[in-house]
Every structure is written in C-alpha cells, then in structure tokens.
C-alpha cells in the first residue's frame, strides 16, 4: 500500500473541483438550513437545474453563457414553485416535497418523453468547450511531486474556488444586513418574527430561491468539469453529501462550506484509498471486494451524518447556542 500516494490523492480531492462544487452546494444549503431553518432535502434538484439548464441550452444551439443563465433562472423558478405550496406548512412538509420533487425531476429527465431535450439515460456530453477555450493557463502539469493538476484541471479548480469565494463574500454581506438578521430571527422563532410585522413567508421564499441559485452553480460546476450531464448522477445522495459537508463545517457559519468540503473530501478519499489499498494487499481476505468500496463509502457518509448530528451538531466551527437542533 502506497501511503504517500493515498495521502496526496486525498489532498488533491480536498482542494479539487468536487470539493469546490460541494462547498457551493453546502453554501446554498447553509442559506436554507443554517440561516433560515428550512429543511431542504431536495437540494440536488437545484444542482440538476443548473447542470441541465446549461447542457440543454448548449445542446439546442445556444451559447454557453446563455446556458448558465438558463440554469440559474430554472433554479430560481424551482425555488418559487417549491416554496409556494410548502413554506406555509411545518418544516417536515418542505423536506418531503423537496425530496419528492428531486426524484420526479430525475425520473422525468431520464424518461423517453423528455428525450428530445435531455437525451434520456444517455445524457448530454461535450457542451463546455468554450469554457476550456478561455483557459489562460499554458499547457503542462502544475504542483509538487505527485500532488499536481493538469492545466485543464487547474483552470476548473481555480474558477470553482473563485466562485465559492465570491458567493461566500456575498453571503457575508447579506447575513450581516437587516435581511440576514430577519432570516436568523425566523430560524430562532418564527412567531416572534411574525409578531414584529415581518412577512415570514416572503423571507422564506427569498431564502429558498437564493440558496437554490447557489446550489445550481454547484451543478453547473460539476457538469462543466466532467463535460457531461446524466440523470443518474443527480440522485438524492448528493443532497446528503452536501448536508454532511455543511454540518461537518458547522451550520449557520459563513466559512462552514469551505471547511466542511475540505475535511469531507479529504476523509472520503482517504478512507477510500486506505480501503482499496487494504483490498489490493489482500488484508481483508474475501470479506470485502474492490467493488464494495463505493457502497462502504456511502454507508460511512450516512454513519458520519448520524454521529455528527448526535454528538457534535455544531460541527467544527459552530457554537451550540446558535443552533436549531435543540428543542425549544
């Protein structure tokens, strides 16, 4: 087992495009869950809107920048459509409807009926060439030793983290504003906010749309990185990856998405690498095969989510006082 390689792989994963995309997704969830207390279990639907909005627009002959706008607009629209029937109801209804909608959208995208637009189960490929044509980084590999990126990867990674930084700056400003304070007031005590004359419903809708739009950027980033969208990428597990990232970082904290994504992807890749190494070295005998590693990875994320929520719901950065996890 090559420990050094596993470690550099894990480091690469911690700063890679996936980590940036999940930081973005978690930033969106932070607006929903961390600041407003909305239980959005269908975040993957917003990511899907971004990815498919971009891919379908380009596939139909539009330019890439228009695709990005379409994806973001579709996510905003989805936020409105989801919010109107559910945000007047108790938190669990939003959870149910969002997880259901995410599944509906995935099933529709992979259906025969939608094939003219989405190309069904085959998905759409090679739509982001203009983005790579803009790459100013000269050809080559950059990094130290085995910790390196190709010029193509580096371009996506840099753009991805730049978007994360911009979004987090915007969120910092927003959450310090009176608007952000109302969101937190709603999280703490909805009735109190209402009794102060705030239109709680409107604020919740705005929060859902804003977080959804940020989530859609995560979807665009994932799609541009792989140059492919496929309905079966956008399963509900992505939502719970984002939750784990957020809660690991500390829900309700501005920097939680970055810290969470770095630690999450490092640990995920590390456990993956160690497991695979152990399987290859034959230490586990016939108990676990290489094909089982993916299942173990998902199981570990689930277990991690349970343990985090039970033992340290404030995550790495959070404070227990400012949390919606205790009964009031």
């Amino acid at each position: 087992m090559d420990l050094l390689r596993i470690l550099t792989d894990s480091l690469r994963a911690a700063v890679g495009v996936s980590a940036a995309a999940y930081a973005l997704a978690a930033a969106g969830l932070n607006v929903h869950f961390g600041y407003t207390g909305l239980l959005n279990f269908g975040h993957v639907a917003f990511m899907m809107m971004g990815a498919y909005g971009t891919a379908v627009t380009v596939d139909q002959g539009g330019p890439l920048w228009l695709g990005l706008l379409v994806g973001v607009a579709a996510a905003a629209l989805l936020g409105l459509l989801l919010g109107i029937p559910t945000l007047r109801l108790r938190a669990d209804y939003l959870a149910i409807v969002t997880i259901a909608t995410a599944e509906i959208l995935r099933l529709v995208a992979r259906s025969h009926t939608a094939e003219p637009l989405t190309r069904g189960v085959f998905g759409i490929q090679q739509f982001a060439d203009p983005f790579y044509a803009l790459n100013p980084i000269p050809l080559g590999r950059y990094g130290f030793g085995s910790f390196n990126f190709s010029h193509r990867q580096l371009w996506v990674v840099l753009v991805g983290w730049a978007v994360v930084a911009l979004v987090l700056l915007l969120l910092t400003a927003l959450m310090r504003s009176p608007w952000g304070r109302v969101l937190r007031a709603i999280r703490e005590d909805e009735d109190a906010a209402r009794s102060l004359g705030k239109n709680v419903f409107a604020y919740k809708i705005q929060s859902l749309v804003l977080g959804g739009v940020i989530g859609s950027l995560a979807g665009v980033l994932l799609a541009v990185d792989t140059q492919a969208v496929n309905p079966d990428t956008f399963v509900s597990i992505l939502t719970f990856y984002a939750y784990t990232v957020l809660i690991l970082g500390g829900a309700g904290r501005i920097l939680a998405p970055i810290v969470g994504a770095l630690v999450f992807w490092f640990l995920l890749q590390l456990s993956d690498g160690l497991l695979r190494g152990a399987v290859e070295a034959g230490w586990l005998g016939s108990l676990i095969e290489a094909s089982d590693v993916a299942a173990i990875r998902f199981a570990l994320v689930g277990l991690g989510l349970v343990l985090l929520m039970a033992l340290r719901p404030q995550g790495i950065l959070g404070s227990r006082q400012e949390l919606l996890t205790d009964e009031r």
Binding site: P85, A91, S111, H112, G302
Partner: protein, 418 residues
C-alpha cells in the same frame, strides 16, 4: 403486403450473400413469449428511411441483421407476421426509432410479447386489471405507511429511515429463505422470524438511538437529519451484503395468472391483498379496542396529558416503534413476494409512502391506510394513460397537489399542519 414482400426478398438476398459477420456491426435479438421461441416473424432495419436489411426469426426465435457501420438505426417488427394470438406487449413500440449501434457492437433489441386481447373490451379489461394490481400494491403501501404514521403520531418524528425498515423485513426473509448460507426455510415459515427481527430492529432504533437523543432534548429537525443519515447508512449496508441485483424468494417467484372474470392476477397477489387488508383491520381493531391502542391514541393526542394521567409514555412509544416496524417488515416481505427483494426497495417505496401519509393526513393511522390504497390504485391505473416510467411521478404529483389544496390531508386536523 408489397413492402413485406420486398423486405423478404432483401432478406433472402442478404442471407444468401453476406450472412452475419463476426467482425462487423449487427442488430439482433431473440423473440420469445413466456419462454417459448417465436419463429417466422419479419424484422426490418432501416437507416434514415432506407432499408438496410431484414430477417425472419429462426426456429429458436433468434434473428440477426448485419448493418454497415455504427449509427442510429430504426428497427421495425412486422406485427402482421406474428403468430395468431400474439401481439407486442406495448403495441406502440413496434418501431424503435433510435437504436444506437457502436463500432463493432452486436446490438441486442428486445420486443416484449404479450397476449393479444380482444379489441372491443380490451380497454376496460386493462383498466380493471390495473385497478386490481393497484389494490394489491396499495395494500402494501398502506401497511408500510401506517407504521410511519403511527411513529410520527406518538413521537413527532418523520422517520426517513422507515423505508430501510421495510427493506430489512424483506432482506431477513430472503436470508432465511433463499440465501445460499441460510437455513432455506419455506418463505411462509420465514415470515414470522423475519417479522420478529424487524420488530426487534424497531425497538433497537428507539432504545439505542432515538430515545437517548430525545432525552438530550435534540430538536425535531436534527432528528430528521439523523433519520436520513441512518437511511443512507442502512441502505448501503444492505447493498454490501445483498449486492445490486434483484433477488427473488424461492417460492412464488413466477406464477401463472389466474382469471376471475375479466381480471387475471397471479394467485399470490390475491393472497397478498387478503393478508395486508387483514393486518390493517387488525391494527384498526387494536387501536380502537385494546388498552395499548387507547394509550397510543392518548399519547398522540397530548403527550403531557397522557403522562399526567399515568400512562408510561416511553413504553407506549417503544411499543409503537415495534408495531410500526413489524408492519413495515410485513409490507417489505409482501413486496418482495409480488416483485423482488432489492437493496433500495424501501427507499423507492418511501416516497410513495410519503404521498400516502400526506394524502391521508400525517399522523392519522386510518388516513395512511386509505391514502396507501388510493395512491396504489392511482399509480397503477396511471399507466393506462401515461408511460410506465411516470408511475412514481404520479404519486408525487398527488402529494404536491394535496399540499396545495388540503394540506391537512383527508383525515387530518387543521391545527396539526401550521
């Protein structure tokens, strides 16, 4: 039919000259109906409206048509050449317009066969059959949903891991029944131990996880996140031990359909319907007539008041978990009998259960049962008008519609919602 004759000639020419080569691309398949090969059926391949080749299925039902290079071909089965009484299961799919052949690929194409039905009453018969199938499926959904609803009503927790409890029952029964390492019990004998273990699992979740968290005054939102993490964890543990492929029980896996008037169902489906309805009636009687049932309703109504009047709330919650899990496990086993056992069967069912529970009114046991039946029938009959792939979409569509129009559901009280 002149075109068919032309195709036949082309086919004869092709068969005489080229035949199927191993190196080039081809499209082929095997036609069969209930395991019997179907011979003498003409199939044509064309590329942008120009015929590429044609073939007739051989005595063993196989056919193969060589094509020139990769591309997207159109494959058509000549419905008129099918033997008497046979038809395509989906009459609209006699022409497949987008068959993609990769370089060097021998592309397999499937035309599922079914009985041809009398044209006149076919529509009504099909609808009736779908309703019957829907009732069976709905009864299973109802069983599982009642458990979900009961647990919600006494604890206030929407358990997103309830689907995994459903799967647990089905998987344990499979281990006892068909696993190479298991004792290979008859599936009916496997039911009782599987249900006992599933009930035990419910008790374990309450005692080991949710009660300690409640004691620490963990809020509802956090508990929901815990339950979804638990669902993710358990589901992939099943995947690890069961593998991704669907598993069938040793008994009742394949059954001939039996006719009751216009309705034909496999007998197992009828038995499932009877068992599920009996279990539902049993739960209803228990809730109304027994002391435990009264206590459950009291705790659901007002926990503090129930506690003050001498009810041991923790014990009632524990018993509700056991009952809810057992019902879910039974639903899982029945689902495994009528379909197959799969690692994510419960998670797929979860969304349908939500639709049932919301339709009936969250926290009302009878509502969940009725909601399950309605959702079952609605999803199955929807395939009469909509493609099968939209089945789940229909259930979720109902869910969203109910929330828009009557969020408290059919039986819910308005105050529960806000």
């Amino acid at each position: 039919m002149p075109t068919a004759a032309a195709y036949l000639i082309t086919a004869a020419l092709l068969l005489g000259s080229a035949g199927s080569s191993d190196s080039g691309e081809s499209i082929g398949g095997t036609l069969n109906h209930e395991g019997q090969p179907v011979a003498g059926v003409t199939i044509t391949v064309s590329l942008s409206d120009r015929a590429v080749g044609s073939a007739e299925s051989a005595a063993d039902g196989t056919w193969e048509i060589p094509v020139r290079g990769p591309g997207v071909y159109q494959v058509e089965i000549d419905v008129a050449s099918l033997p008497e009484g046979l038809a395509l299961r989906d009459p609209d799919r006699s022409v497949l317009t987008a068959v993609e052949v990769q370089a060097g690929q021998h592309k397999a194409v499937v035309f599922p066969m079914g009985e041809r039905q009398a044209e006149q009453s076919a529509a009504i018969t099909r609808l009736l059959n779908l309703v019957a199938k829907g009732l069976t499926y709905g009864a299973i959904v109802a069983l599982a949903s009642v458990g979900l609803s009961l647990i919600f009503s006494v604890t206030g927790l929407i358990n997103f891991a309830h689907g995994e409890v459903v799967t647990f029952g089905a998987v344990i029964a499979w281990l006892l029944n068909a696993s190479p390492a298991g004792p290979r019990l008859h599936v009916l004998w496997a039911v009782l131990p599987a249900l006992a273990l599933t009930g035990f699992m419910g008790a374990g979740l309450e005692r080991g996880l949710f009660r300690p968290l409640r004691r620490r005054r963990t809020g509802n939102v956090a508990l929901i996140v815990v339950s979804i993490g638990l669902s993710l964890f358990l589901r992939h543990i099943y995947l690890l031990f069961l593998g991704g492929a669907p598993r069938a029980y040793e008994q009742y896996a394949v059954q001939a359909q039996q006719s009751w008037g216009p309705i034909s169902l496999p007998p197992k489906d009828v038995m499932i319907l009877v068992v599920a309805l009996a279990a539902l009636v049993g739960v209803g009687l228990m809730l109304q007539r027994t002391r435990l049932g009264t206590e459950m309703r009291a705790v659901a109504d007002n926990k503090d008041l129930a506690e003050a009047s001498g009810i041991n709330v923790d014990r009632v919650i524990l018993h509700t978990w056991v009952l809810g899990a057992t019902l879910a496990g039974l639903g899982g086993i029945l689902l495994g009998i009528t379909q197959t056992v799969q690692w994510d069967m419960g998670f797929v069912l979860l969304l349908t259960m939500f639709a049932a529970v919301v339709l009936g009114g969250i926290g009302t046991a009878y509502g969940a049962a009725l909601g399950g039946l309605i959702i079952g029938v609605a999803t199955e009959t929807s395939t009469f008008w909509l493609p099968v792939e939209f089945k789940v979409v229909v259930a979720l569509g109902v869910l969203i519609l109910v929330l828009l129009v009557r969020p408290q559901g059919l039986f819910g009280l308005k105050e529960r919602v806000g």
